[in-house]
């Protein structure tokens, strides 16, 4: 075992959360290694639209965290010394029925009280904001202006670039196979490329957290699904002003009645004019990168329904990545009680917006053993979870399913 591989902290998972944590830890002077079983951003962090979202925040405990973290984006590019394409942009969530609006009513009361703009707009207003949307069958939309968008890869590499400059050891294609624990204290991790001794280990492993936990006798309550999306060639003649999603969805069986995929529309345009089209969700623990045979079709159907103008656009690529949710909509963030030196920062909803603060919180936990930036006790990995309302919970019983 060489001392070259001995670290103060090992961060597992080179997604946007892991990269931010690695950046903060190295900046605090800690000898840090970042490990990933694939390449940087190989999971959900490299498969999203770069949305810096506050509107879908979990309402009971997460508002302070999202607000503090969102405010960090004011100076993040300056701090990291690299543009990441950050821009402020509003989002529209299209509603077909009054019931869909009612499901958002609580959110529309709570968010503005907390300084996060969120309002109902009628179809005429939708047409003003986004003229290309076919509004004929719409009841209205929710409009949230306190949002942003950036290039997620540039964000990850902006964190990493600084971290590597300050001594981070980045180890991609390094798969964790076990943990070294002595007397309830973390001593390091075993990988397919040898052992990395360290006194502290951070799991920023999203969909892989549950598997890793099982290696050390934990069964953290994180659910996995595969989210799929696609991208068009650049369309310079069409510019949209917002990020658009829908409450409507399509459900399509993949292999059986029990294995179906739900597709809501999530649509955004990149600064270089590509259209990003999501999101097909397929529940299940499968972690491979193969998109289902149903997803490209349902994504295309949803995009064509609301944006007929896109029907002639050429699709360059589709992709899929495993992502997660928890029953109460909150991440697993904080120290693990029975294993000293093990910290979780996993299953964030909207990881990008949370990434700056995740780095600060974990670094404080590692260096001082506590967190005084925000109250993280509701996010304890050992908590009992209550079922919570989330705007991305799509129930297959809703009567909006398309016959295909």
């Amino acid at each position: 075992m060489s001392s070259k591989n001995t670290f103060d902290v090992i961060v597992i998972g080179a997604g946007v959360i892991g990269c931010s944590i690695a950046y903060r830890l190295t900046a605090a002077g800690l000898k840090t290694a970042l490990l990933d079983r694939g390449q940087v951003g190989a999971g959900a962090s490299g498969a999203n639209f770069g949305m810096v979202q506050s509107n879908d925040v979990e309402l009971n405990f997460s508002i302070p965290m999202v607000k503090v973290s969102y405010s960090r984006f004011d100076h993040l590019e300056e701090e990291l010394g690299m543009p990441v394409g950050f821009r402020r942009i509003a989002s529209l969530r299209l509603l077909s029925t009054e019931d869909q609006w009612k499901a958002s009513e609580e959110r529309s009361k709570i968010l503005p009280q907390n300084g996060i703009a969120y309002e109902f707009v009628p179809p005429e207003r939708i047409k003003e904001i986004e003229p290309v949307i076919d509004t004929r069958n719409l009841f209205g939309a929710t409009y949230a202006s306190y949002q942003g968008q950036l290039n997620p890869f540039l964000l990850m590499w902006a964190y990493l670039r600084r971290a590597i400059q300050t001594g981070l050891s980045l180890n991609t294609y390094t798969e964790v196979t076990g943990f070294e624990i002595e007397n309830g204290q973390m001593r390091g991790v075993r990988t397919n490329r040898g052992t990395f001794p360290a006194g502290a280990v951070v799991l920023a492993t999203a969909a892989w957290t549950r598997r890793l936990g099982k290696l050390i006798g934990h069964d953290w309550n994180i659910h996995t699904f595969r989210a799929s999306a696609m991208v068009t060639e650049p369309i310079y003649s069409l510019k949209i002003n917002t990020i658009i999603s829908t409450a409507d969805h399509i459900e399509m069986e993949v292999t059986s009645k029990e294995d179906s995929e739900l597709t809501v529309l999530a649509l955004a345009q990149t600064p270089d004019c590509h259209f990003l089209i999501g999101q097909a969700d397929r529940p299940g623990e499968v972690l491979n990168a193969r998109i289902s045979q149903a997803a490209p079709k349902t994504l295309a159907m949803m995009a064509g329904r609301y944006f007929p103008v896109l029907r002639e656009a050429r699709i360059l690529r589709t992709w899929t990545a495993p992502t997660t949710y928890t029953d109460d909509g909150c991440p697993l963030l904080g120290p693990v009680k029975d294993i000293g030196g093990l910290i979780l920062a996993a299953s964030y909803r909207s990881a990008i917006v949370h990434s700056p603060l995740a780095g600060e919180i974990v670094t404080q936990l590692v260096t001082t053993g506590r967190c005084d930036i925000i109250d993280i006790s509701p996010f304890s990995p050992e908590r009992k979870m209550q079922q919570a309302e989330t705007i991305y919970t799509v129930k297959s019983t809703q009567n909006t399913t398309e016959e295909v």
């Binding site: 390449q39 696609m230 060639e233 292999t255 994504l299 159907m301 050429r314 690529r317």
Partner: protein
């Protein structure tokens, strides 16, 4: 057609042969190819109105193959793209998404033979993206199949027998070939250890001698250990500079010669077309002598994905003879898998093939080792040279990505969009790998390869939506 027993993708020698063998055993087969007619690059057929009085061995072989195909029960879909392969609705089955006239939109199958061939390896030098600079494969197609000369004064640069063949054909077709630069030097000395592999390759030797005769009788200057190092011109290429290479493949400045030309033909051997293997996330292994990353296969030519076979150049550069043999082995094995042949009768067919295969493998190793572009050639690009043509990414941007700490070609792609465009990195993939390896001190194996995701080529949203026709519901 919802279901078929076997789908063969690619109608070159490997694909046709595997389809025929399986079909003879009673397997229901469909054969799909993007070209207007079967044959692939090796047995490429002339367009409909063209007539030819070609009576060569090669033409004979091709005609026999097409006759067998024509009299088989194989259904052929030309002009058809397999744009995706997905996990099927039934366990162990695959679902292919097709785009082409008359082709079904979806086909489900338990077995697929991938025989997608190879494409030319380019190297980036200043001016390589000028109109008039084309690949050796393109030159061959233009002369042999379209009966068009790419230019009147041509210089060729590259390595391997394909370059040789292109030069001879261009000369025969009436082009003035002002030079052929073969980047490998000392071929005779380096080739000696491989002599045993040449034993029995008489057809190839005869073919080679014919090319040598053509080039010699036209006094075409053939330079070993040389390369075109830059091309110049305004709207299209008007001159090319050649230079002698040192032992690492770096040009020696004093040796530079510039010639006026209207076409530069470049062919640095071939790259296996592994896109569908990568789309399926098949395990790949790195074999530099066979064209880089190729699918890991067992004795039966099956990849790490159950029921997916890979044969011919797409599974490692080996030429048409090897492709035919691998096609027969995979076709036989698929027939066993599908219950049309017993293992014992399959063994009788394939045991002879395996002996022939070993001979071909020795020859492929010879070609691979002798004719690989030296690493130094990938230093020809200047900071403003375009590397990824689809996304217009220059060497400067790639270097910037490397300076951030990029470790794999995937990292470079994510940072500066190389390989994110229309071709998904087919052209720039090997270039970015060479540049990254050289500049970051990693091996070509460590810098890996681009992921491929469906659709294989860009397709309109309404095609992906399967908008017009009735859709296949599982």
């Amino acid at each position: 057609m919802d279901e078929v027993e076997l789908v063969v993708v690619g109608a070159g020698p490997a694909g046709i042969e595997s389809a025929l063998i399986a079909s003879q055993a009673g397997v229901e087969v469909i054969l799909i190819d993007t070209s207007p007619k079967p044959g692939g690059q090796y047995f490429k057929q002339l367009p409909e109105p063209f007539k030819s009085d070609d009576r060569s061995d090669h033409q004979d072989k091709a005609q026999r193959l097409f006759q067998r195909l024509g009299s088989s029960s194989i259904r052929v879909f030309n002009d058809t793209l397999v744009w995706g392969i997905f996990e099927g609705t039934k366990p162990g089955s695959w679902c292919l998404a097709l785009y082409g006239p008359g082709a079904p939109q979806r086909v489900n199958s338990r077995a697929i033979v991938l025989a997608t061939g190879a494409f030319d390896c380019s190297i980036p030098f200043p001016g390589w993206d000028l109109p008039g600079v084309i690949t050796a494969g393109a030159a061959l197609t233009m002369v042999k199949n379209q009966r068009v000369l790419p230019g009147k004064r041509v210089v060729l640069s590259g390595t391997g027998p394909l370059l040789f063949a292109s030069a001879a054909l261009l000369v025969q077709a009436g082009a003035e070939v002002v030079g052929v630069c073969e980047s490998s030097a000392n071929l005779l000395r380096r080739g000696l250890p491989y002599l045993p592999a040449v034993w029995g390759q008489w057809g190839r030797m005869r073919e080679g001698m014919g090319y040598i005769k053509t080039l010699a009788s036209h006094r075409v200057p053939y330079r070993f250990g040389w390369a075109v190092t830059s091309a110049g011109g305004g709207n299209r290429v008007s001159e090319a500079t050649m230079a002698k290479l040192d032992r690492n493949g770096i040009p020696i400045p004093q040796s530079q010669v510039t010639r006026a030309v209207d076409s530069v033909v470049v062919g640095y051997s071939l790259v296996p077309a592994t896109e569908l293997c990568r789309l399926l996330d098949c395990d790949l292994v790195f074999e530099p002598g066979r064209g880089g990353f190729i699918p890991r296969r067992d004795e039966e030519m099956e990849t790490s994905c159950s029921g997916i076979y890979a044969v011919g150049d797409c599974a490692g550069i080996g030429g048409a003879e090897m492709a035919l043999i691998e096609g027969r082995i995979a076709g036989t094995s698929a027939a066993v898998r599908l219950g049309h042949l017993t293992k014992r009768s399959a063994y009788e067919v394939t045991s002879r093939e395996r002996i022939a295969l070993r001979r071909e493998q020795r020859f492929a190793k010879l070609l691979g080792d002798l004719f690989s572009p030296p690493a130094g050639l990938f230093t020809l690009a200047e900071t403003d040279t375009m590397i990824c043509r689809c996304e217009q990414v220059t060497l400067r941007q790639i270097r910037e990505a490397i300076s951030y700490g990029a470790q794999t070609v995937g990292d470079v792609k994510n940072l500066v969009r190389t390989g994110m465009g229309n071709c998904q990195g087919r052209t720039c993939g090997s270039m970015v790998a060479q540049i990254l390896a050289a500049e970051s001190g990693r091996t070509l194996e460590d810098v890996r390869y681009f992921n491929i995701r469906p659709p294989l080529h860009p397709l309109p949203l309404e095609v992906v939506e399967e908008h017009q026709k009735e859709v296949h519901t599982p």
